[in-house]
């Protein structure tokens, strides 16, 4: 485990915890941006440059802005005065701890993770483009259709209702 990994992991985990515990929603959105940027740095460190830049463009750029707009449109920018966790928070926290315990236990006792490290796969953007246009052309079209439908659907859902 390298020093870079430890620093990035500490940053990502701290900001993710901040997202879920802070009171002011705008601060939560800012911490979320830091988490997304940390994940993009992990992708770059693992050698997936294209995915890292896609993460920066889509999450740090678009999704974070979208969430800030939603917070401002729903007047969530003033911090709530009552408590921020729901009434059944203990059950939810227990479920989350149980899920993490199960996953961590399985990872710790797995014997298939102790193999030697294979050489890093080298992949260029040109290869990704070629594959997208040949073998993965149908999923690409489907994702384009899905994004168009989601765009139109989001506009129609959020459109102001006509006064009757």
């Amino acid at each position: 485990m390298s020093v870079t990994f430890v620093i990035l992991a500490a940053l990502t985990i701290a900001s993710a915890v901040a997202v879920m515990t802070l009171r002011n929603l705008v601060h939560c959105a800012l911490a979320l941006t830091v988490t997304f940027a940390g994940l993009a740095a992990f992708y770059l460190q693992l050698g997936a440059q294209f995915v890292g830049f896609a993460q920066v463009l889509v999450y740090v750029g678009a999704v974070a802005i979208l969430i800030v707009f939603a917070i401002l449109l729903t007047r969530g920018s003033e911090p709530p005065t009552e408590r921020i966790f729901s009434s059944s928070w203990a059950i939810g926290a227990a479920i989350a701890v149980a899920v993490f315990g199960l996953l961590a236990g399985l990872i710790a006792y797995s014997r298939s993770l102790t193999r030697e490290i294979p050489p890093a796969p080298t992949i260029t953007v040109r290869q990704i483009g070629d594959e997208l246009m040949s073998r993965y052309v149908l999923p690409l079209e489907v994702i384009g259709l899905l994004l168009t439908a989601a765009l139109i659907g989001a506009v129609i859902i959020a459109m102001r209702e006509e006064a009757k």
Binding site: V17, M20, C28, T35, R83, A93, F100, T122, E131, Y136
Partner: protein
């Protein structure tokens, strides 16, 4: 600890944080943010397996993550539009107060 196990532990911790937030917070926007965190943890898993698993084909992991990012972006847009529409109707995003399907 091998690097793959470290990455898997990190992503399972992120998944648990997102799950805890989605189950415990009262604000609908933060529930959606928790779901986004869980999706991102899954993406980190894909990339970690692509890098460290032996004998995998070169581009499959990358393609999976790219399509997953696309689906997550569509999900975020529709989810936030739904939250804004619900806010117009109920004048709140507090999930404890939104408890009827109609009216």
């Amino acid at each position: 600890m091998t690097p793959l196990a470290a990455y898997l532990l990190l992503s399972s911790f992120l998944f648990a944080i997102g799950l805890a937030g989605a189950l415990t917070r009262r604000n609908a926007i933060l529930v959606l943010i928790g779901i986004e965190l869980m999706l991102n943890a899954a993406n980190l898993n894909f990339i970690a397996f692509w890098r460290y698993a032996p004998g995998s084909e070169a581009v499959i992991g990358i393609m999976f993550v790219l399509f997953s990012i696309g689906v997550a972006a569509a999900e975020a847009a529709v989810g936030l539009a739904l939250i804004i529409s619900i806010y117009r109707h109920y004048k709140t995003t507090n999930l404890d107060q939104i408890n009827s399907m109609k009216g």
